[in-house]
């Protein structure tokens, strides 16, 4: 497969990058369980000043997200994709503090306090508005949005760093913060419109999702290639991991052929390489408790999140679902239920 290069007709890769890792997340399978969040945390962010970080987080939408109101903090590029748009640095409290608790005092030292975050610090947290959403009963709506670094094709964080401490790897397009070179200026944090770079105050450096490169490289004592922990550990297996330019893989088909996998906030113009299958939901109810034909999640809201392409994506999915329900066959539906071996196509470009 080594003959496969970056010059595909349909796939735009960043110049100088041979292959681009990508992920498709199916929001119709996300149940908000946060196993991805914990899998990531126990791999990478459990200590050393990273405790407050969630390189992978899952947020309820509509909702403020993590860090709070990140969608309103700017960053990314202008409409032409040429000039960076100013971005703000989130306040520390918008991330929430990694609370410590008083277990020992209560359980072993006879304290009559309740078990609580110490320092009475609890008024916001990464998942504070879980399940809240919008609308009114019985026509409320919400869904879950898992997020990692998008390892963008046109990454504004990389451009933002005056020390060029962020870079995009040639072999797979993973975006990294060079931990030797970084000085913790946080221009990258400002510049990323998804707020997926985090400042480590203990190390005075910024850090971010590394797409589990040690796992996909087959590092580790067993030398086994594994997908990113967030994907491999996901109980409903809602993520597909592979290369955008692997034209035989499900990601390419979902993104480029069927166009049912769409980007989050495409207007930020960073060209994310994480794509989402948009959510459908049961229809609205009338006051008499009858189900209607009216969609529960307003299309305007979905357009706000995923851009206008979300409409065709949802229409295609609905059409193909109906086809299967009527007894027909659908390659798209089968793709969305890809077998586990097809979900992780990480070795297709390995040199023989």
């Amino acid at each position: 497969m080594s003959s496969h290069t970056d010059s595909s007709q349909t796939v735009d890769l960043a110049e100088g990058v041979n292959h681009q890792v990508a992920m498709v997340m199916d929001l119709n399978k996300c149940i908000g369980c946060q196993t991805c969040t914990i899998a990531c945390k126990t791999n990478w962010t459990d200590s050393g000043g990273r405790e407050y970080m969630y390189w992978n987080n899952v947020e309820t939408k509509p909702g403020a997200g993590y860090p709070r109101d990140w969608e309103e903090l700017g960053g990314g590029w202008d409409d032409e994709g040429e000039e960076r748009t100013p971005g703000e640095l989130p306040e520390q409290e918008d991330y929430g503090a990694p609370w410590d608790f008083n277990h020992e005092q209560i359980m072993y030292e006879g304290s009559d306090e309740p078990l609580r975050p110490m320092d009475d610090a609890a008024d916001w947290a990464p998942n504070w508005d879980e399940d809240e959403g919008a609308g009114e009963y019985p026509n409320s709506y919400y869904f879950y949005l898992p997020r990692i670094c998008n390892h963008c094709t046109h990454p504004s964080c990389v451009e933002a760093c005056p020390r060029s401490a962020l870079y995009k790897r040639e072999e797979d397009g993973i975006v990294l913060v060079d931990q030797d070179r970084c000085r913790g200026y946080r221009y990258c944090v400002e510049g990323c419109p998804y707020k997926k770079v985090y400042y480590n105050a203990m190390k005075k450096k910024s850090e971010k999702c590394i797409f589990c490169y040690p796992r996909i490289e087959g590092e580790g004592p067993e030398g086994e290639v594994r997908g990113p922990a967030c994907a491999e550990d996901c109980p409903p297996q809602l993520r597909m991991v592979g290369y955008l330019d692997d034209e035989q893989g499900p990601i390419h088909k979902l993104v480029n052929e069927y166009e049912v996998a769409v980007r989050l906030h495409p207007e930020f113009r960073t060209e994310p390489n994480v794509y989402y299958i948009p959510p459908f939901a049961p229809p609205k109810h009338t006051q008499d408790g009858e189900s209607t034909d009216e969609e529960r999640i307003p299309r305007e809201y979905l357009e706000e999140l995923f851009g206008p392409k979300v409409n065709d994506a949802l229409d295609t999915i609905n059409r193909e679902r109906q086809r299967v329900r009527n007894g027909g066959e659908s390659e798209l539906m089968e793709l969305l239920n890809s077998d586990r071996s097809e979900k992780y196509r990480l070795e297709v470009f390995d040199e023989a």
């Binding site: 149940i31 459990d46 009475d120 879980e130 870079y167 995009k168 070179r181 040690p214 491999e232 550990d233």
Partner: protein, 962 residues
Amino acid sequence: MQDTNHTDDRRDGSDGRKLTDTSRREFLKGLGVAAGGSFLQTDGLQVVDDPIGSYEYRDWEDLYREQWDWDSTARSTHSVNCTGSCSWEVYVRNGQIWREDQAADYPVFDEDSPNPNPRGCQKGACYSDYVNADQRVLHPLRRTGERGEGKWERISWDDALTEIAEEVIDAVQDEEYDAISAFTPIPAMSPVSYASGTRLTRLLGGVAHSFYDWYSDLPPGQPITWGTQTDNAESADWYHADYIIAWGSNINVTRIPDAKYFLDAAYNGTKRVGIFTDYSQTAIHCDDWLSPDAGSDPALALGMAQTIVSEELYDEAHLKEQTDMPLLVREDTGKFLRASEVDGLSVDADRSDHVFVMQDAEGNLRVAPGSLGMRDGQHDDSVSIELDFDPQLNVEESVSTTDGEVEVRSVWNNLRDELSNYTPETVGEITEVGSETYQEVAREFAQADRAKIIHGKGVNDWYHNDLGNRAIQLLVTLTGNLGRKGTGLDHYVGQEKIWTYEGWSKLNSPVPGRNVPTTLWTYYHCDVLDNADPETTQRVQEAIDNDWMPVYPEERADGSRPDPRLMFIWRGNYFNQAKGNVAVEEQLWPKLDLIVDINFRMDSSAMYSDIVLPTASHYEKHDLSMTDMHSYVHPFTPAVEPLGEAKTDWQIFRELAAKIQELAQQRDDVDPVPDREFDREIDLESVHDDYVRNWEDDEADALADDKAAAEYILEHSEETNPSNSDEQITFDDIDEQPQRVAAVGDHWTSDLVENEPYTPWQRYVQDKNPWPTFTGRQQYYIDHDWYLELGEELPTYKEPPTLQDRADYPLNYTTPHGRWSIHSTWRDSEKMLRLQRGEPVVHLNPDDMDDRGIEDGDTVRLYNDLGSIEVQAKRYPSGEPGTARMYFAWERFQFPDRGNFNSLVPLYMKPTQLIQYPEDTGEHLEFRPNYWGPTGVNSDVRVDVEPVADGSGDDSNGGSNE
């Protein structure tokens, strides 16, 4: 190490960019901490031409590669009764547990359903935190303060075991061995640990407690209608259904490892309907959502049944062969017409009064094959229910009987009468579900080839759960959706299914022993009989007097009854999870002289105990794991040695047995005590030898450790050591990879088909064995006197009762299973709490909040006539107005006044679940632990909520004061 105050660091400079003073301080907080990593040389920064693609300075990348490293791994799982039974790979680094990953190596057996891997959830993914946590119990502890105060002294194992052994010996010597209680739930989640204490309890003549009924996990409608505790399809079967109703089963929250079979079905042509009072986490991924008023589900189900019956969408052949619908019922007594009562009906059976009657197409009365009177007990596969005539459903006749002419009607006609009450108008009014919508769902359900209901705790917590169960079950029966792939009513609450039942049972009970229905035991010893309503009191008393249900300690010859005296709790959190929490603390707890909790963590039961013994965590022992969600068996193995002074459960109870034996031998006054109830002697001088002896092979010292006990279970079970094969599944096999069970014993309702998920009831539906009920059929009509008196002979809808006044307490209070804990485990986990709000919350509809001046994040008081608790209010627009929803199992020590989510829940018991049926012999329904017994009632509780006035202390909405 010195900090480099580099001039480039603009945050230390004065450029005055966007940082506010506050956030700057927050950011700078960490800067004083010595950084552990190496800093790049501060001079000579090398030039990067293009950071996209051609970045050159990549040696640093080893930093993260070095973190992806470990020394060894071990296979284990978690023993928490979540039904997951997920196999995990536990990573050890530098002699300590580092983390865990799903093992994800279950062998695929069904190529048509989604891959079974991985199984796990966010909680399992951080169990490792418990191993080294602050809450870990590391040494034997003896209470020095009041129960619950959290004041302890560390004592030696010898002191602890001696103190407990003395108390045990005294109780046995006083012939109060039935005052020794042992509470531990759910063998399937770790059968060796379960059996460890129960085996000793049996040898001591003590009492083992039920749990499945107590936790209201048991669906009483299943033993009532199907004669079986519960039997379910494994979750892979969901994918084969064309139509699924998730009825009060919040799959996406409570069955996280299995949810994929439901979610993937969306792309496989399956229609999925959710029935939830709130727009739940599962409703969001359904194709339609029905939102009945809380507790009105039976009316909705009966309305759907009425649609199916009136539009003739039912499966007539199934009803005639498989159900009691053609059986005749006497109009005068409401009892089934018995063959013995009919003039001239010849019956080839020993007990013709236990034989039922149908009418054939010619109008002749016929004996119903498979009736109990024709069988040798509840289960008798030598008899068939297959018909050689065509029984009529619609029968109204006058029959000549030993009592003269009596009018009889078929159960079918009685049912049709009952269903006629559930018109679309009435059902719409009761449930507030749109009449068109529910009728359409009923039609679609009936017309689907393979339709299934996934049934859960949301509809099992009510007082009238038996009626609700029976009404919902009726839908799969009417439509013939039983005993086939992709069909059925799957009730998943509690890991009740232990595939290796026989082996566990032999390990657990080397001698016959006492079991008690925990709901009744708790109710009785909390003195509820002294203050419950007269009718309930009278029926409970009658059930006890009739010996339908046991209570221990049993009544003595002189009419007295001792109090319970000694309680062992392990693998569960009885005290925290007890309904009637206030009564348990005030009435029951003081009766117990010694409470011993065996635990890896300090939970509420441990906190309120007298002695706490440190047990091995889930990553420090050998055991087995099984569930009804799948058909694999896989192990616990130790990744590390037990931390501190912890020992495995097996070792703890073995050493306690040894201490009892040692002290009994030393004391002059100890002789074998004849058991009051069983034909055996309680011999304390040999109790350890008996504990470690393999009773099957009479081999001494064979069961010294937990691995040997696990091997014993595998060896003595049909599922892992099939009688028709030389192949055996050994412990080493399952350590290598989880194994699908090799066969299925007689105690399940289907055989195992290769390459297909297990689906229950095939032995009745396909093989035509009699159902294990009185009538030998799915039995919707129960002619027990109490059911007739209460008007519950058929499924019906009754207004939910409540002990609280609706005017004073306008909100329903529900305590569903949530996503962030498995019961109380992980409730106190730092990682989990950081992804919530750090403290207990109540979910409220915004209208109810506005009415009371409550805002999101406010501290509120939730109260009723039983108690009051302080929690945080959370805005939940998807919650139905009029409900205070509190995901359950917060620990007592998480509330300011040590109240508890159960402080607002009374001890409540429905007498219909105390019966024996038939009344004289009980083959269909008689007390059997976790199988038939009264369920605890969690719902049908009312509360109100109010803001806690400012200045009361806990200001959790206080914003960020500087």
